[in-house]
């Protein structure tokens, strides 16, 4: 089931004991999402890869897994995480201000196989807060533009107010020949963009379904619908990659909270090729 890397992370520095990181910068993305830039107080964790996550610890409150959303070839030891304030821990993390110290364990999980799209069209499809884990792929594609044919970003949100990285999406549109398309599920009449589910963007998106490699992140139901739309367009399951989310606690494959059938998402995932994971997604009990 393991796809890219599946070595237990126990031996990794900072795997079990949180290392202190200071909030260097904090940016509000929308009404309930913040991006934190964290710098190591002393020792840094191992370099994080696209698709990987860390366990972020709000001292005295708790720990949650958060994917990197940074420009990994630029950030150095700085960690960039975009967090939605939705529960006690994420609210505490988002309430942290510049200078505050958080705990970091990781990095955990496998990485997006971006090389699989070399010489082909690269398509990312994000839903809601699924865009941040895909952002490192886009940054990579922008830095290595010649390695890919068309680069396509499709993004769906709940309402215009819920969209993330709006100015950045406009910049990407300019650099990716306009191949950035955004839609929302509902909007007021002042919204001049598209309204409809993210799967509606797929039939007309500018990519070659015979060769394109697709990376999809969002709620599990959104990924299922998106995968179906991509397959209807002609993309084969072995060229669709998704990132899974389950309750993660230890991050190193010990506690079993994130088990999905025979696979532990924190250790074997979170990135999976659709043809490897699809049979499990069809089992309601899982």
């Amino acid at each position: 089931m393991a796809t890219v890397t599946s070595e237990p992370a126990l031996a990794v520095r900072g795997a079990m004991t949180p290392l202190p990181y200071r909030v260097a910068r904090k940016r509000r993305e929308n009404h309930d999402n913040w991006t934190l830039e964290l710098e190591p107080v002393d020792e840094a964790i191992e370099p994080i890869g696209p698709g990987q996550f860390t366990m972020l610890y709000a001292f005295g409150v708790g720990e949650v897994p958060i994917s990197t959303s940074g420009d990994l070839e630029h950030d150095g030891t700085t960690l960039v995480h975009t967090i939605r304030a939705v529960g006690a821990v994420t609210k505490a993390l988002c309430a942290a201000g510049a200078g505050d110290v958080l705990g970091v364990r990781g990095p955990f999980g496998n990485t997006w196989p971006v090389d699989a799209a070399h010489g082909r069209d690269l398509v990312v499809v994000g839903g809601g807060v699924g865009l941040p884990p895909l952002r490192p792929i886009v940054y990579h594609a922008l830095r290595h533009r010649k390695d890919f044919e068309r680069v396509v970003v499709l993004y769906g949100g709940r309402t215009p107010d819920d969209l993330l990285f709006r100015r950045e999406l406009d910049r990407w549109r300019g650099r990716l020949d306009g191949n950035v398309d955004v839609t929302v599920d509902a909007a007021g009449s002042d919204w001049t963009g598209k309204v409809g589910v993210v799967t509606k963007l797929i039939p007309q998106a500018a990519f070659d379904p015979e060769t394109a490699v697709c990376y999809v992140v969002g709620p599990e139901i959104m990924m299922r619908f998106t995968a179906r739309a991509l397959i209807d367009r002609g993309v084969t399951r072995d060229r669709i990659w998704i990132s899974m989310e389950r309750t993660m606690r230890c991050g190193v494959g010990l506690c079993g909270h994130c088990q999905l059938g025979p696979t532990l998402i924190c250790r074997d995932g979170p990135v999976y090729r659709l043809d490897e994971l699809a049979p499990l997604l069809e089992v309601p009990e899982l």
Binding site: V86, R158, A187, K194, G196, M222
Partner: protein
Amino acid sequence: MRTLDALITESPVFRGLEQDQLDLVAGCASNVTFDAGERLFGEGDPADTFYLVRHGIVAVDTYVPNRGQLTIETAGPGEIVGWSWLVPPYRWHFTGRAVEAVRAVQFDGACLRQKCEDDPLLGYDLLTRFAQVLVSRLEATHFQLMDVYGDRNE
């Protein structure tokens, strides 16, 4: 300048129609333009037309008390707006508005209904094609109703 036939077959809904069927459909069609903000049709009005969007975005709106005018979907180039012309009582369920300048092919629904009555093969073919439009709208609506991006606890 492309003929109406050529414009119509750009839409997946009409792709693959036989030439004689295409001629019948094109006989009920005309080119139209709308300025940004202009209304294409209004909720409750008789639904005598439908549109194939060629350029621009059409918003399908409805008024929700205390929330104002809400857009429930948009249609862009190649997409069809309107199916109310197909089923009684032939009244628009929503309001259509040009978000930006729109060029479209407008179809006379009453004209097309009559041609379908006269030519059941054409009627069956068109009904099958519009059923696909309706199914995809229904699926999209189900997806929207799930509110998959809504709040979730960690």
